[in-house]
């Protein structure tokens, strides 16, 4: 057997192994996506088939929320860092749903699926907010949520432009009253809470959210 004749099958073998590995890897990625879709069927009941949210159920739009944020929130719901306050009616409803996603791999899979959904631009439901006054207030928020409300993963701040204003309003109220962001293990919630406390009243919240809406367009 010549040297070349020996080399050929060996490189062919390497090629075959490489091909197998590739197929295996892409198979796994496809598996995760399929798993994410499968898991999301449970979420669609409330958050809608395209993650567009449902006001009657007080479930916000989550479509295109960044993967890191969805993962972090699911973990918070599971550990009780969020949604375990006696007065957090909607959070208490979301919490058992988070428990249906077991283990980090599944959390990532469903979060990746949510992140890949097309973003929605929900219609306004709040009225009476003054975006001009809100703009001044938003200067503070921009430090974390970004000048265009796009969020900032380094500061664990979510985007504010892809979800409903009634939901954002409810969250600001929850942060302010201590229903969200007060648990010792909720570090990122604790950074947001003083910001909500800074908003004097409902009108101030409406103003800043009216400005956030202008960013959404």
């Amino acid at each position: 057997m010549s040297r070349a004749g020996y080399e050929l099958p060996r490189s062919a073998f390497h090629l075959a192994v490489a091909a197998l590995l590739l197929v295996g890897a892409s198979g796994r990625a496809a598996g995760d996506a399929a798993r994410g879709k499968e898991l999301f069927a449970n979420c669609a009941v409330c958050h809608g088939a395209s993650g567009e949210g449902n006001e009657k159920l007080k479930a916000p739009a989550i479509a295109a929320m960044p993967q890191w944020y969805v993962e972090a929130q699911l973990q918070k719901f599971q550990t009780g860092a969020r949604g375990a306050h006696p007065d957090d009616i909607e959070g208490l409803r979301m919490r058992p749903m988070s428990m249906t996603v077991k283990g980090e791999a599944n959390i990532s899979a469903v979060a990746a699926f949510v992140a890949a959904l097309a973003p929605v631009r929900p219609a306004a439901t709040l009225s009476g907010g003054d975006a001009n006054i809100g703009k001044a207030t938003y200067a503070v928020c921009a430090a974390c949520h970004g000048p265009a409300g796009e969020g900032n993963p380094a500061l664990k701040s979510p985007p504010l432009t892809q979800t409903q204003d009634w939901y954002l309003m409810a969250q600001l109220t929850k942060f302010k009253t201590g229903v969200r962001g007060t648990r010792p293990e909720d570090a990122s919630g604790a950074t947001m809470r003083p910001m909500a406390l800074m908003l004097a009243d409902e009108q101030a919240m409406k103003n800043v959210l009216a400005y956030v809406r202008t960013l959404a367009r």
């Binding site: 009941v45 944020y69 973990q75 599971q78 208490l92």
Partner: protein, 250 residues
């Protein structure tokens, strides 16, 4: 007898088990007798060569006796069951023994909130202790519960107490229980209440008076902090906080 399968941890658990046993034995006895007669007759009047089938209308006295005599005997058994059932029902549901403590139970989709008085012994004061999906009670004390619902029908079910009570939106339903055995037990929702009904579970901790005192002292100053103990006890422990922080930083 049933305690071999489901622990009994309340003062009336034995009475309810007794009632279930009584019914099972009486009904079981008649069930076996009826099956024996049925199969005996099937065997005796099986198809035989050269014997024609007969149509029996069951109007003759000798035939009717097969129905009337067992019927009378079953009615006699019913009297025992009814007397037993009414006795237990009166004790458990119709009488309200004086309470040592009161706990408010708020059901909602899909969580149980338990509100207990803090050290001052009064509900609706600053030191109330609120816990989510976790109820701590003292062994040997009589509790009144005030059951509420925030949304739809639920049912507060504690198998170890042999207690099950529906929660109806708009109504405050009062009942009682007296825990008799320390331990950790299941609480579940026993009325279909939406997509999360199947996982609307909580834990019940029956504690000795000393343990209970310690728990109360630990919780009452921070009246609003529910303890994550119950989750830690569940099989599928959620990812640790470290994991959450890590995922957030990515």
């Amino acid at each position: 007898m049933l305690t071999r399968y489901v622990e009994a941890a309340s003062s009336y658990a034995q009475d309810i088990d007794g009632l279930i046993t009584l019914i099972t034995v009486l009904v079981g006895f008649w069930f076996l007798v009826a099956q024996a007669v049925l199969f005996g007759l099937i065997f005796r009047f099986r198809a035989k060569q050269g014997v024609k089938a007969q149509y029996i209308s069951g109007e003759e006295k000798s035939q009717k006796r097969w129905v009337t005599i067992p019927h009378m005997l079953v009615l006699v058994c019913d009297v025992f069951i009814i007397v037993g059932a009414v006795r237990v029902w009166t004790d458990v549901k119709q009488t309200l023994p004086p309470a040592d403590h009161t706990v408010r139970i708020v059901s909602q989709q899909w969580a149980w909130t338990f509100i207990q008085p803090g050290p001052d012994g009064k509900l609706d004061t600053e030191d109330d202790i609120k816990t989510i999906d976790e109820l701590h009670v003292k062994e040997g004390a009589t509790y009144h519960f005030q059951l509420l619902s925030r949304d739809v029908l639920h049912s507060f079910s504690v198998p170890a107490f042999r207690l099950k009570q529906d929660a109806v939106p708009g109504r405050l339903i009062t009942g009682w229980f007296k825990p008799t055995r320390p331990g950790a037990y299941d609480i579940q929702c026993a009325e279909i209440c939406g997509i999360g009904h199947g996982i609307m579970a909580a834990r019940l901790f029956v504690e000795t008076p000393e343990e209970h005192q310690k728990w109360m002292e630990k919780l009452s100053p921070v009246a609003r902090a529910p303890t994550p103990q119950a989750e830690a006890e569940q099989e599928n422990t959620p990812p640790a906080e470290g994991a959450s922080a890590g995922a957030g930083a990515e």
